[in-house]
């Protein structure tokens, strides 16, 4: 049988999607469905004084105007799941404060317009640096409990400011600090022959999935809350609903719908609203955000400010890294990217001494959320830009500088963990041979080529899968993984190869939380790596059952049998064979002596499979307008093993396009009062077909020891190094270095004019 691994083949869901048959979360017909529309706060920080349904309840079709106290919420917590409608305090402009439910969407919208909310404004904390300065007003009032705890710790002499002598004093808007230290960085910098430094700023960036967030909730006759939703994770959404609504897990059923894009932004954000409304009204409720609401009220990637200083020896050996990272959490107090971004800012390089600090700061902006490789593009923009300056100062080839200092397998990362084997070296070497790099010295004026290396560490989470052979001899793979990137198409190939069927005879179905095997949320580049591994083992388990049945039918020991192309054969005696289809028929019938040909498989990897990617950007700069034109572009990525090169390239191309968006166009900007200035696709520019160059993709394969057939998770790595590569290209083209994203034409023009 020809090996199905590594063959370019179309996505399984392609024909359905191309013919409009795919039903996304907003497309299902639900009898008796009501529609919800949110009333969003226009204040960035305020107390809610009064919510007046006004004339809303008198409007045709309006069923209810719901406020926080109307929802069956479990109670504690100020995160979005626990407090889906503001109780007393609004902490960002766009925060939902009320929900109007009506018979039609248009009627719900009429109702929402009629609701009047009175606010008592509080100081809006918008500027990130001011927010963390001692004495800054708080972006969220502190509870009495927190105030008491503060007083106690001050009395006990352990206030945050006194915790470490060399820690800078900060305001109570700082939610978390991270520090990673090794050696004496001051001494190492003093001893360095070359030191480069800078302050790098990145903007709030929106995931801009094409399908706005949407969820539908209803109560089944047995009392189970069912939520059909556009989510990246079935089980995580169930847990969040259970926590928010105080329901036992078995009373909540989450059914993920085909995902119209997500990129990190769809992790149980609006489901509690739809679910609480359905529970309150005992009728099915759909909440479909408009794009404007999705811009204003969801969870984009945060702004970061990074001060970074790098010391090197004249021979190009990197010596010292000092970094201070400030991450804008916005109104998300629950979790952040500080742990990740403070690791990624060290790049894939050996450091003799480092001192990295990261601060999480709350402001009156959106609750920050994940976006493809959270924290990685900003951190990599900073380190890879500074490294380029080091290379320029030393008159050293930037690829050579990186190669000389690259970590090796077993080197300890700044998080204390050893690096596994990874293909960064191979990527850099392939990039060095690429035509874009080769021609970098023969360019006209105002053109330049930049390079940058980035990586994503990957993720792990235990996962399970089922494989079942049906009476027609086809194999069905069941997982609860949400297909965000084409993973189902990958599962089909994995199962086909592990079982011994052509991929065309494998079907992949998604289960829901009521009966599906466990899978973590689709994020962290872990689905192919973890669930794919489980699928492989499930197919192998089913294959063992198949061989047992075949052994009995053929009267040959299982160890003397092989499976290929849907036929079980005696090794060395191919005429003694039976098809999978025939075996299935003899198995799945009344009185058969064979167990069903099914397998269950699980995975729980303990090793990560980092994916590295090099970006090469060739730019032409228009000095009159400041516009950066991308003349040519390439991504070179280590993917472990390309199960389906076409889909791998799709991730690389899409990741590069988003990287270009980070670099040149995208910024969620607020004014001083916290009003969103770029809240539509009119003002917030994502790359269009016309603005993007052709992008070359180069696949490097350094197999992951514990991945299915060597595959790694590859979705996040290709976005990471893009902004740095373009900034480096701009510097080479013009001699001007921008340390702030996005590098819009006006900013480039101003820098050139300065």
């Amino acid at each position: 049988m020809s090996d199905p691994i590594g063959v370019r083949r179309p996505r399984l869901d392609g024909p359905q999607k191309a013919s409009g048959q795919t039903r996304y979360a907003a497309d299902f017909l639900v009898p008796g469905l009501l529609h919800a529309r949110l009333v969003l706060s226009y204040e960035a920080h305020a107390l809610v004084r009064r919510i007046d349904p006004g004339a809303a309840l008198d409007l045709p079709g309006v069923v209810a105007v719901l406020v926080a106290s109307d929802l069956p919420l479990a109670g504690a917590g100020s995160d979005r799941a626990a407090e889906p409608l503001a109780r007393e305090e609004v902490v960002f402009a766009g925060q939902p404060v009320a929900m109007v439910v009506a018979e039609t969407e248009a009627q719900a919208e009429d109702g929402a317009e009629a609701v009047v909310v009175e606010y008592e404004p509080l100081p809006a904390v918008i500027d990130l640096e001011q927010a963390m300065a001692p004495g800054a007003p708080l972006a969220r009032r502190r509870s009495e409990k927190e105030e008491t705890a503060d007083l106690e710790s001050i009395h006990a002499g352990s206030s945050a400011a006194a915790a470490a002598e060399d820690e800078e004093p900060v305001s109570a808007n700082v939610l978390k600090r991270v520090r990673r230290q090794e050696g004496d960085v001051a001494e190492a910098l003093a001893a360095s022959e070359v030191v480069c430094s800078g302050t790098f700023r990145t903007a709030w960036v929106y995931q801009a999935y094409l399908e706005p967030q949407v969820a539908t909730a209803w109560i089944d006759p047995d009392g189970t809350l069912v939520v059909s939703t556009s989510t990246q994770g079935a089980f995580v959404t169930r847990s969040e609903l259970s926590r928010a609504l105080g329901l036992p897990l078995d009373r909540v059923r989450v059914r993920p719908a085909p995902l119209g894009g997500a990129f990190g932004g769809k992790f149980a954000l609006i489901e509690p609203l739809a679910a609480a409304a359905a529970l309150a009204l005992r009728r099915p409720v759909r909440l479909a955000l408009t794009r404007s609401e999705d811009f204003a009220a969801t969870n984009p990637a945060p702004a970061q400010i990074m001060d970074i200083r790098v010391g090197a020896r004249r021979d190009g050996t990197l010596v010292a890294l000092q970094a201070r990272i400030v991450v804008d959490r916005g109104s998300n107090a629950g979790w952040g990217v500080e742990d990740t971004t403070s690791v990624l800012i060290a790049g894939l390089y050996r450091w003799q001494a480092y001192d990295i600090r990261a601060y999480a700061v709350q402001t009156n902006r959106f609750p920050f959320g994940a976006y493809r490789a959270p924290g990685a593009p900003p951190a990599t923009f900073a380190i890879e830009s500074v490294l380029d300056e080091v290379a320029q100062k030393l008159d050293l080839d930037p690829i050579e500088l990186r190669l000389r200092n690259l970590v090796q397998e077993g080197d300890v990362s700044v998080n204390g963990k050893p690096f596994p084997e990874l293909g960064a070296r191979q990527c850099l070497e392939r990039a060095r041979q690429h035509p874009i790099w080769q021609r970098r010295r023969q360019l006209p004026a105002d053109e330049g080529v930049g390079v940058a290396l980035g990586y994503w560490p990957g993720g792990t989470e235990p996962a399970a899968a089922l494989c079942r052979v049906d009476a027609d001899g086809t194999l069905t793979v069941v997982t609860s993984a949400v297909d965000m990137t084409g993973t189902d198409t990958g599962f089909a190939v994995i199962a086909a190869a592990a079982f011994g069927l052509p991929p065309e005879r494998v079907r992949v179905v998604s289960a829901d939380t009521a009966f599906g095997p466990y899978a973590g949320a689709s994020g962290g580049s872990k689905i192919t790596y973890t669930v794919g591994r489980a699928v492989q083992r499930a197919a192998e388990a089913a294959r063992r059952k198949l061989l047992e049945a075949a052994a009995e039918e053929l009267e040959i020991a299982p160890s003397d049998l092989e499976v290929a192309d849907g036929v079980v054969r005696a090794v060395g005696a191919p005429d003694r064979s039976i098809t999978v289809e025939e075996l299935a028929r003899r198995t799945l019938r009344f009185g058969s002596r064979h167990e069903p040909i099914e397998g269950h498989g699980g995975s729980a990897q303990t090793s990560l499979a980092p994916s590295a990617a090099v970006h090469l950007a060739h730019v032409r700069v228009d000095r009159d307008t400041g516009e950066i034109e991308l003349v040519d572009y390439a991504v070179v990525q280590d993917v472990g093993r390309a199960l389906n090169p076409a889909l791998v390239e799709g991730q690389m191309l899409g990741g590069a396009a988003q990287a270009i968006g980070w670099a040149l166009y995208e910024e969620l900007a607020h004014d001083e009062q916290g009003q969103l200035l770029t809240g539509s696709f009119l003002d917030y520019a994502i790359p269009t077909a016309e603005r993007l160059p052709r992008i070359d993709t180069v696949i490097v394969e350094v197999p992951a020891p514990d991945g299915p057939f060597g595959a790694k998770g590859i979705g996040e790595a290709p976005v990471v190094a893009g902004p740095a590569a373009i900034a480096n290209a701009l510097a080479r083209a013009t001699g001007v270095r921008l340390r702030r994203l996005p590098m819009t034409a006006p900013r480039v023009w101003a820098a050139l004019a300065a």
Partner: protein
């Protein structure tokens, strides 16, 4: 604006005459989705920027959020549901599948219909022309390149078949 009475709008959708009850304010996109259950017509924005709701109106690509349903009275609307003939995908649909011109698929119906409009006017466009034609249709997954390749492949295929 409230409690308005509905109007019966008659139009041809995917070759079939239909009548749909709409409010005067109802946008064509809502009439197609809610009134006729044509859910390939996706809603990706509320400012007519994204192109996910693109349909062919008398053969020309229009964003169906940019006109009222009543404005389609007596006209012919085509959605991707109407492209496949006897279960056989139209060559442009096939090209999007085979050339990996779709990932999440949300922009795909709009991309396909905008491309058909282009190919009707420019049967053999170059890459630049395709990119310009697609500038009003946003995609966040693919980086557009496989979409552009799909359109170019469809153009070649349609030319070979003598179709447009």
């Amino acid at each position: 604006m409230r409690a308005e009475k509905t109007i019966t709008t008659r139009l041809a959708v995917n070759g079939q005459p239909v009548a749909v009850e709409v409010e005067p304010r109802t946008l064509l996109v809502h009439a197609l989705r809610e009134g006729l259950d044509l859910t390939s017509v996706h809603i990706g924005c509320d400012t007519s920027q994204c192109g996910a709701c693109t349909v062919l109106l008398d053969g020309r690509a229009v964003k169906s959020c940019s006109l009222l349903a009543v404005q389609a009275e007596g006209r012919a609307v085509m959605t991707v549901e109407g492209l496949a003939a006897d279960g056989e995908l139209h060559p442009i649909q096939r090209a999007f599948v085979e050339h990996h011109g779709l990932q999440c698929g949300f922009c795909t119906p709009g991309m396909i219909l905008t491309s058909l409009d282009l190919l009707a006017r420019h049967p053999r466009p170059d890459e630049k022309t395709v990119r310009r034609a697609l500038r009003g249709n946003l995609c966040r997954c693919t980086g557009y390149q496989p979409i552009v390749d799909s359109v170019l492949a469809a153009a070649a295929e349609l030319a070979k078949e003598g179709r447009r």
